[in-house]
Assembly symmetry: C2
Homo-oligomer: 190 residues x 2
C-alpha cells in the first residue's frame, strides 16, 4: 500500500513483539486463503463521501475533499466453502472488550447476516496476552440480551468463543473455527 505524503500505515507492536496488528494478520491470512484457493475474503474499502474531485478522466482524477462515513456494515466479508462469511475485528489492551468498539448497526448487520443463513461473528484480540477469539453473533446477542454492562469480560470469550490458532500459514486461521462451527451445526460441508 502506498501512502506517499508522509502518512504511513501503522504497524503497532503488540506485547509479544510479533509486530503485526490484528488487521494486518487478517489481511495476510486472507491473501493466503485466496492464493491457495481456500476462500475469497476481503476487507471492504473505507466508506467515504466525496465532496470535491478534480479530473480530466477517471484515471487522472484527484479527490480534493472527502469525509469518512460511519460504517454501516462490518469490515470483512467473503465466501468460504459456498458459505457467506461476515465479521468485524477489534483489538483491546484491557482484559475486557469495551462494547463502544462495535456500533449498534454493525450488530444489527451481523444479526441480519445470520438470519439470511450467513456466518457472522466478531474477532477480538486481547493484546496483552496476545490471544485472539472468535465470538459468533448468537453469543454476542446472548450477552447483550442478558447484561447491562458496557463491556464483555474476557472470560465470556474464553467460555463462549473459540480461541484462534496463531501461526504462520496463515497467521490467523479463523476459517478453521468456521469449520468447527459448521460441524457443530451439523451442516454438510463440501
Amino acid at each position: 500500500m502506498n501512502y506517499p505524503n508522509g502518512i504511513k500505515k501503522k504497524f503497532k507492536v503488540s506485547a509479544s513483539n510479533r509486530g503485526m496488528t490484528l488487521e494486518n494478520e487478517i489481511n495476510e491470512s486472507n491473501i493466503y486463503y485466496r492464493n491457495n484457493d481456500i476462500a475469497v475474503i476481503y476487507k471492504k474499502p473505507t466508506p467515504i463521501t466525496i465532496n470535491k474531485v478534480e479530473y480530466k478522466n477517471r484515471k487522472d482524477a484527484v479527490i480534493k475533499e472527502a469525509h469518512f462515513n460511519t460504517p454501516s456494515t462490518t469490515d470483512y466479508n467473503g465466501v468460504y466453502k459456498g458459505k457467506y462469511i461476515d465479521f468485524e475485528a477489534k483489538e483491546t489492551r484491557k482484559n475486557y472488550f469495551p462494547l463502544s468498539n462495535v456500533h449498534d448497526h454493525q450488530i444489527k448487520h451481523l444479526q441480519k447476516i445470520r438470519d439470511c443463513g450467513g456466518i457472522g461473528f466478531i474477532i477480538v484480540r486481547f493484546i496483552d496476552e496476545n490471544k485472539t477469539y472468535l465470538l459468533e453473533i448468537d453469543k454476542l446477542e446472548n450477552f447483550l440480551d442478558n447484561s447491562n454492562r458496557k463491556s464483555i469480560p474476557k472470560e465470556y470469550f474464553v467460555n463462549n468463543g473459540y480461541l484462534i490458532n496463531q501461526g504462520y500459514n496463515p497467521y490467523l486461521d479463523y476459517l478453521k473455527i468456521v469449520d468447527i462451527i459448521r460441524r457443530d451445526n451439523n451442516e454438510k460441508i463440501f
Copy 2:
C-alpha cells in the same frame, strides 16, 4: 447520500424514461431485499488511496488528497439464503456488450468466487430496449474461451443468460434468477 459541494448523484435518464440507472435500480432493490429480510447485499465503497488527511479526531477528519484505485473485485456482494452472491453490473447503449467494461481481474475474481462455492455473475442492461440480463460466470467464461471478439453480442445474453424482470418491488428482481439457477443446479434451497 450527501454530495455538498455542487457534485450531485447522477441520475441518467434511460431510453425508456424510467429515470433510473441500473446502479440506482440495483441499490433500491437491495434496500428492498434488506428491509424485507430477503437478502443482505451491498454495493462496496469505492476503493481509494488516501494521500493526505487533516484531522483532530476521526470524526472531524477531512481527506485532502486521494486517488481512485482500479477495483480488484466486483461492485456488489452479500448473502441470500445462506449463499454468497457476487456480481458486477454494467449498462451499454450498443446492441453488444464491450468486454472493455469488465476488467480481467474482475473476471478472475468471479471465477474464484465460483470455485469457492459462491454464485458469481454479471448483470448487463441494454439501455435502448431497456432489457437487463444476468449472465453466470460459467457462461461468460465459455464465451471468452471460444471467441476472440472484443464484445459479446446481445444474442449471447438472450440465449445463455436470464432476462431479469423489471418491476417496482423490487425494481430489478435478480434474486429470482438466482433461485432458478440454484434449482437448475439441483441445490436444496431452504
